[in-house]
């Protein structure tokens, strides 16, 4: 069946049908992204200074990634120019030039996605933040060793007892003490469980089989407690701990399982890049200084004075302006006052400044201090993923949705490039119309990015 009005215009609308279709689709897309932009405004304007997790100054958050975002903006603008040039070449019946420009569009799309991947990877795997119990916010990176292993992300626990859940959950509905699989037993010791009834179980396989048997015999029981023949030391990734919270005598795990015994080590090593004190009652007593040391506290005060003495600030204040207090409480890439490098970040009352995973002077690879923070001082922590606050949630929602549009648009344009020759020979105007419609979508994708770039990266 021939679809009508794909080449020539309808008399009543003056347009070929697919053009009307794409504009109606774009109208719905405006509402989709409009809703998300509206959500962005709602979240950002709703932040209460000093009460809510502060909206990060995007320039601090992104740092060098501003330039990647900037590069991506230029790449998308170039692709928009190339797609309209490809259409113009088709209208002039220059198929070779059309192929050339359309290929450039696809190269730009691929480049955009590569940059996006680099950025996402950095945020999700390298950038990290911890909000301490007094509201201090430390941003930076988890300290990794040569094999990209992050010792600071682990909890070490000596267990003498375990509570196994008998609830059948998960896809396979198995009673599997699954958490023992991802827990690392330190020192290569063998795990022997004294099951109720005097039976000794060696290893996870024997334990699993016994649990199945026990659950079948005791259908009304929800949990069973069993001791270890001798204390076993486990290491857990913090993300594998339920609620990421450990206690001095127990580690709650997912699906109702629990280890009981003694907490050995619950410190997190962070290379500190930014100190944000917007949510701290008394800046001078912030936990940041207990970990970073007095030198950094003096550095912070000096930096604050420096900011206020900045000619632009002073001129603004003298004219009766007010500075947002929050901005003065953010300190990036701190260094001890007057001692850049050479001094260890002093050991505080709460934790111990560590040089183990940074350079020997207690600083990380970027000259930033490395601190070991006690787990009990951490209120919330995590990578800069969607969970790390409303900014990151809306950032990932909008940029990921935009990225999907880039991929979808590129696939359609690639189809026109690689499978368009036959249609071009049959009816070149038909292919030109298709490219125009695909191009309109591509320009819309560019339009969304034109707004996304400044609001997410610069403001």
């Amino acid at each position: 069946m021939e679809i009508p009005y794909t080449v020539s215009a309808r008399r009543d609308t003056g347009l070929f049908n697919s053009k009307v279709g794409i504009w109606l689709f774009l109208a719905s897309e405006v509402m989709l992204f409009g809703g998300l932009f509206s959500g962005y405004v709602f979240l950002r304007a709703g932040v209460r200074p000093g009460v809510d997790l502060p909206w990060p100054d995007a320039v601090y958050v992104h740092g060098p990634f501003i330039w990647l975002g900037f590069l991506n903006t230029l790449v998308l603008i170039a692709s928009s120019v190339f797609v309209v040039l490809a259409w113009a070449q088709l209208k002039m019946r220059r198929y070779g030039m059309y192929q050339f420009y359309m290929s450039l569009v696809l190269v730009c799309a691929a480049g955009f996605m590569v940059v996006k991947t680099i950025e996402y990877n950095s945020k999700l795997n390298h950038h990290f933040g911890a909000r301490l119990s007094d509201g201090t916010l430390l941003d930076g990176a988890l300290v990794a060793d040569d094999s990209h292993h992050c010792p600071g992300d682990y909890v070490t626990f000596e267990a003498d007892k375990a509570v196994f859940s008998l609830a059948r959950t998960g896809i396979f509905r198995k009673l599997d003490p699954y958490f023992l699989d991802f827990a690392v037993l330190k020192g290569g010791e063998e795990m022997v469980v004294n099951a109720p009834g005097g039976k000794q179980l060696k290893g996870v396989a024997e334990l699993s089989a016994w649990l199945e048997e026990y659950a079948a015999q005791n259908p009304r029981e929800a949990r069973v407690t069993a001791g270890f023949a001798k204390p076993v030391t486990f290491q857990f990734r913090r993300k594998d701990v339920f609620g990421k919270r450990v206690f001095p005598d127990r580690v709650p795990l997912f699906r109702g399982n629990e280890l009981q015994g003694k907490l050995i080590d619950d410190t997190v090593e962070i290379e500190v890049h930014t100190v944000d004190l917007q949510m701290v009652r008394d800046e001078e007593k912030s936990l940041a200084w207990a970990y970073l040391g007095e030198g950094y506290k003096a550095g912070y005060e000096g930096h604050k004075k420096e900011k206020l003495n900045d000619p632009l600030h002073r001129r603004f204040l003298e004219k009766g302006g007010t500075l947002p207090g929050g901005q003065l409480r953010i300190w990036q890439h701190p260094h001890p006052a007057g001692e850049h490098g050479g001094e260890k970040a002093a050991a505080g009352g709460h934790g111990e400044a560590s040089a183990a995973h940074g350079s020997s002077d207690g600083h990380g690879g970027h000259g930033a201090p490395v601190v070991s923070i006690k787990g009990s001082d951490i209120h919330f922590m995590g990578a800069h993923g969607p969970k790390f606050g409303t900014y990151y949630a809306i950032y990932f929602t909008m940029t990921a949705l935009h990225g999907l549009h880039v991929v979808g648009g590129a696939l359609v344009l690639a189809y026109f490039l690689f499978f368009g020759r036959k249609l071009y020979r049959k009816n070149p105007e038909h292919l030109a119309n298709r490219v125009e419609v695909g191009g309109l979508f591509w320009h819309f994708v560019d339009l969304v990015w034109i707004f996304l770039f400044p609001i997410m990266y610069l403001m």
Partner: protein, 138 residues
């Protein structure tokens, strides 16, 4: 859009010029936010910076819509569709503003202890003696 080859070649030049303009304004946006000399108002992000950034973004998007998407000479039906779209999109933003007019306020005690107050010239003189602001010259 029906055009002769000569017309299309003129259009191509226009597209290239618009592309260059978009490049330039993107650079301007980044400079305003990253180089203190170009910053508006308070150093750092503030309302004038946001307004400036959004004005430039609106200008850039207008160029894309008018030139690349051919909205400078489109048929009436498309404009009718877009008028409705813009009206609904503005209404959507309006709903957000209504919500801002009736915010959920924290407990008074929380405000008293945690609110980070803004800084004036008087605060600088009293709290940071080393950073005394010079008297304003009139």
């Amino acid at each position: 859009m029906e055009s002769s080859t000569e017309d299309l070649q003129k259009h191509v030049r226009t597209y290239l010029m618009v592309g260059a303009t978009l490049f330039v304004f993107t650079i301007v946006t980044v400079l305003v936010r990253t180089v203190p000399f170009f910053d508006f108002g308070v150093p750092g992000v503030d309302a004038p910076d946001i307004a400036f950034g959004l004005v430039i973004a609106t200008f850039k998007s207008s160029l894309v819509m008018l030139i690349f998407m051919h909205l400078n000479h489109e048929r009436g039906l498309i404009y009718k569709v877009l008028v409705f779209t813009v009206a609904f999109a503005i209404s959507l933003m309006g709903l957000t503003l209504f919500a801002q007019g009736n915010p959920i306020r924290p407990h008074a005690d929380v405000i008293e202890h945690l609110h980070v107050s803004d800084v004036t010239a008087a605060d600088v003189e009293s709290k940071a003696p080393g950073a005394k602001a010079e008297p304003a010259k009139h």
